[in-house]
Symmetry: C2
Subunit: 168 residues, 2 copies
């Protein structure tokens, strides 16, 4: 009994994207109920040199589409980070979800042993697919999902752990 | 090519625990350099009704030992949440790491299909091991690892994404 690379990646990304979409909806409801400009939530961050909520959501999308595409042996689709509003963030999530849902699970059959190279500003990171998923992509994905949640909680949006985990 | 349940759980928990231990060390250095009482960091939280840093670290430990034990078919070891200081949090992490390192990878061979029941205050959650790991334990684990990081960043501790991800 083991896990397929597809099972350990695409449904996990989809669940997180669904949760972030829900966090944003709760943020919109909170802003409307409390006469807070949505831009104040969109630009909120936890430290001056951390990403804003907008960049966190864009990074959730990047981690999901980049992780899934690389594991499937594809180029990640380009999604320029042009979003500035909540409706645009919902649309970015929807576009990312559509990409993930269009991937063929069979493309992940050889993903665990696939050579994956990430270029950062500083250097290249070399992985096998399994280590890329477990040691880089999922931690990075969850970092941005959680920080989006933490920013909204910090701004007062009523969310709880069960909202984060989703229906069980 | 697929992932073993051991590979997708124990090394992932160990990496996260190692990172949280490092976040705490950076917090101690920051507090010392800036004459901030350590208790101020230990009690810090992102919202009045969120857990403090101490409870986040205890929850990281709980998620790791609880997840690994249940997948291995064992009772999670009890670790009462008595920590109030940074040295005690480091010790809690070390005790959790020692437990995880003592687990037999063979005990995870049948983990994907194992029936797992979690009792919450409200109801019982029923899982198969694979869904427990991917849909509950890992999201919950990363939630607390990331929120510990976010609390310290919010308090000014100089940490970066590469500190979160660890050496690649």
């Amino acid at each position: 009994m083991s896990l397929s690379m597809y099972q350990a990646s695409v449904p996990v990304y989809l669940r997180g994207l669904d949760r972030v979409d829900y966090f944003l909806t709760k943020g919109e409801e909170f802003a409307a109920a409390n006469n807070i400009p949505l831009a104040e939530l969109a630009e909120a961050k936890l430290a001056p040199d951390m990403y804003s909520l907008i960049r966190q959501v864009q990074s959730v999308s990047d981690a999901a589409k980049g992780g899934a595409a690389r594991l499937a042996g594809l180029e990640p689709p380009s999604m320029p980070d042009t979003e500035t509003t909540f409706p645009e963030l919902h649309a970015r999530i929807a576009k990312t979800v559509a990409f993930l849902k269009g991937l063929d699970p069979k493309a992940f059959d050889t993903a665990a042993d696939r050579d994956i190279v990430l270029k950062t500003r500083v250097r290249e990171l070399h992985f096998k697919g399994a280590n890329f998923l477990l040691g880089f992509s999922l931690p990075n994905f969850y970092f941005h999902v959680t920080t989006a949640y933490d920013i909204l909680r910090h701004k007062g949006v009523p969310l709880g752990k069960m909202d984060f985990l989703g229906g069980q």
